[in-house]
Amino acid sequence: MNFNLRKGAFCSLLLTCFAAGISAQTVSDAIMMKQKEICAALVYEHGSFDHYWEGTYLRTNGTIQTVKINSVAAMAAIGLHNRVNLLVSVPYVQTKSTVPNGGFFKGAKGFQDISLALKGQILEKQLGAGKLALLATAGFSTPLTNYLSDYRPYSIGFGANEYNGRAILQYKLDKGLYLRSSLAYLHRGQTKAERDYYYNNGSYYTPWMDVPSAWNFDAIIGYWMLNYQLKVEANYVGLKSTSGDDVRPYNAAQPTNKVQFDQVGASVQYYPKSFKGLGGLLYIRQLINGRNTGKVTSFGAGLTYQFKI
């Protein structure tokens, strides 16, 4: 099987991560859609946490008990050119606490942010027994609705614009094993609260809150099996805010918080030969270390469909 002929049959996806209001939809795979090819995807994710990090202190809180975050994201990867893809994603998110809880807070739901990203393949060349690929993405996301970001842990997003840039490097052996890593800078703007005073290591007399920008790093090992029908991956994702304050003792989080986490995960993508263009996706992720975020466990399942226009 010629890999170059087959590779257009796989979907590039935006990964979602809705860890307690830290939304991030990032493009970090090395797959390019060919010109005039579109991959559409629908991904459901269920996340939950009953522990969270208050600063670096891992705790529970009977006020919120277990927080559940359900989302459905519609995504598309569009081949503008063999080497330039446009990726779009729109998630709908719902949050709530399990009952009984001591807070009696209503959860939140709604369309979150639209993410747009351009992905370009800068380099692809044979190197020894495999191929080296270098890609870059430039992305933008902005809230689609006036959801309230200042309503942690139920906020469905951080409520600010994000501009991000990412470099992706992959080395893939012709036999199917690959290693990939990417590094991104997520420049996050300001979000508007519905109050005009808040405390962030001092008084702020404004409804605007700085959402800390962040570095995002990931590392993936994956393997294509069954004649390029099945892809399995194990991954690590790290995020580190460049500024921000800690959640104060037994107090609610807010968008100004410094968020950090280490997350490990695994995913399986299946592209059955018998259904041309159709693919399935399953994944699991777990935060293993963090700061000012829920210790989120999430499961996802999705369908992808690829077609030409």
């Binding site: 959860g107 309230l148 420049h187 300001q190 109050r195 008084s203 700085d210 003792p249 107090n251």
Partner: protein, 516 residues
């Protein structure tokens, strides 16, 4: 070559991004944006106003100042000339920060400390709760928990002591009429608008000492921070060229004297008993149940054994003779037609929450981690004092009456809360959920409503040119708690009337203090 074309494309995209990013980020102010100003009037007879804690403006004695022609004063001017010239950039910043109305800055500092300490103690691993301990403020949880009753009380003592201290300062200023240094010696430059306020004793020094002393008593862990702030403010009086050492020393004497009186009152006003032990709390609850057939219970997980300050209703009032005379009537019994109508109302707000209701609920929430509702009204007082260019004495008067009225309102509100012990919506409406946090005390009446109505009455009196704006805000603050799902509408409407009733006592005192 196609790579170049892509490079251009990325470059364009990046440039566009930078332009968008740089164009839409807002400055985030951390304090009031004002500088020194010309006072709208000097209140030359301010020394004749009736103080709150002092028997008379002359109660605290200060030395008769040296004459401006004396050699001792000349030496002081020489020293001031040197202190006020060649300032470092930090000294210039301090001069600009403190301005010629430091009452405003100290109120701002007080609000910041309230927000810093307004953290409710969380449960221990075994499900018990530990209370902040004033005898060991650094233990976990830190002392104090600056909840609304604590905050309004701290602000009351701060502004009452500032007010009395400034009445005393004004008395001596116009008794001795020592001109400001730059008038006696025109080689001394003054950094502030020259208001021709007599300089002995220094009103700035009074405010620095009073603020340091009262706030240190209220926030003991901040002693070093407050001492440094007060030191900087007093130094800045010399950097700004507005006071010589003897002006400042006399101001410190007044500040020390009035602070001692204020702290003595605070030590014995009953606040130390407000967070009563569980047996007392249980008997209060049982008494309400026996009287009315209902009771409020804390529903947190784990449940808190005692509500917030059940005996705050017994704390010493400023201007109301007895708390019973302002106690509101009995609320509608659960199950009554009026009560059932409120259930329908609350369910409607919850089920059909609009963006506007949500925004109002959040704007006035002033919950944990913030400066609290009394803090919100102090912020308004600061902003309007700047708008009307009030002198420090006038500013302190606004804060003093505002905070006395709000504290009296708060005491009355807490009396009603624990006398009636009325359940919250989440206690009575099955499966009810809220968008605001339900506080750890009974529902009737709403603290926000009482604080805000009392605050609005005083603000309306002090700034009559503003018409109905404060009362409109108070009504919005009151209904915000109903939108939030944590109060019945009668908590808000009765609370608003209660706040007005309480404020009337303070306003009667204000009307008779000689200032208007």
């Amino acid at each position: 070559m196609s790579y170049i074309r892509y490079a251009n494309f990325y470059f364009f995209f990046a440039l566009l991004g930078v332009l968008i990013i740089s164009s839409c980020e807002k400055d985030l102010p951390t304090r009031a944006d004002y500088s020194d100003y010309t006072f709208n009037k000097l209140d030359e007879n301010g020394g004749a106003w009736k103080p709150v804690l002092l028997d008379s403006a002359a109660q605290i004695a200060i030395p008769v100042p040296e004459d401006v022609t004396s050699s001792a004063y000349m030496d002081e001017l020489t020293d001031l000339r040197s202190s006020s010239s060649n300032l470092t950039s930090e000294q210039q910043e301090a001069v600009a920060y403190w301005t010629n109305n430091p009452v405003l800055r100290w109120n701002e500092i007080a609000l910041e400390l309230v927000a810093k300490y307004n953290l409710i103690p969380g449960p221990n691993d075994d499900g018990t709760y530990t209370l902040p301990n004033p005898a060991d403020p650094g233990a976990t949880p830190n002392f104090p928990f600056a909840h609304p009753p604590y905050a309004v009380r701290a602000l009351s003592y701060l502004s009452v002591a500032q007010f009395d201290g400034l009445i005393s300062a004004w008395h001596y200023k116009y008794l001795y009429n020592r001109p400001s240094p730059s008038i006696t010696d025109n080689t001394i430059a003054t950094a502030y608008a020259d208001n021709r306020l007599p300089s002995y004793p220094s009103e700035g020094a009074v405010v620095a000492v009073v603020s340091r002393e009262i706030l240190t008593a209220m926030f003991p862990l901040e002693a070093d921070y407050l001492a440094e702030k007060a030191r900087e403010q007093m130094e800045s009086l010399k950097w700004a060229g507005v006071n010589v050492n003897s002006d400042i020393a006399a101001g410190e004497m007044i500040g020390t004297g009035i602070s001692a009186l204020a702290k003595a009152r605070a030590a014995n006003d009953g606040m130390k008993f407000a967070q009563c032990p569980k047996p007392v709390s249980d008997s209060i609850k049982a008494a309400a149940f026996a009287r009315f057939g209902w009771q409020w219970d804390n529903l947190e997980v784990p449940a808190r054994p005692v509500g917030l300050t059940p005996l705050f209703g017994r704390v010493q009032l400023w201007n109301i003779p007895t708390v019973e005379e302002v106690r509101p009537p009995v609320p509608p019994a659960p199950g009554s037609a009026e009560y059932e109508a409120d259930v329908v109302l609350l369910e409607n707000y919850a089920d059909n929450m609009t963006t506007e209701w949500r925004a109002i609920a959040n704007f006035w929430q002033d919950g944990l981690g913030t400066y609290t509702p009394p803090g919100h009204w102090n912020r308004f007082a600061k902003e309007y004092s700047i708008k009307y260019s009030l002198n420090p004495l006038r500013t302190a008067r606004v804060f003093a009456y505002l905070n006395m009225a709000m504290m009296d309102g708060g005491i009355s509100c807490w009396d009603a809360k624990y006398y009636y012990h009325y359940p919250r919506p989440i206690n009575l409406i099955p499966d009810f959920k809220t968008i605001a946090g339900t506080p750890n005390f009974p529902s009737y009446t709403s603290g926000h409503s009482v604080f805000s109505a009392a605050g609005a009455e005083v603000m309306t009196y002090m700034f009559p040119e503003e018409g109905s704006i404060f009362r409109d805000w108070a009504l919005e603050a009151a209904i915000s708690r109903v939108y939030g799902g944590i109060h019945w509408s009668f908590d808000a409407t009765v609370g608003t009337q209660q706040g007005k009733n309480c404020a009337a006592y303070t306003l009667a005192v204000a009307q008779a203090d000689g200032a208007d």
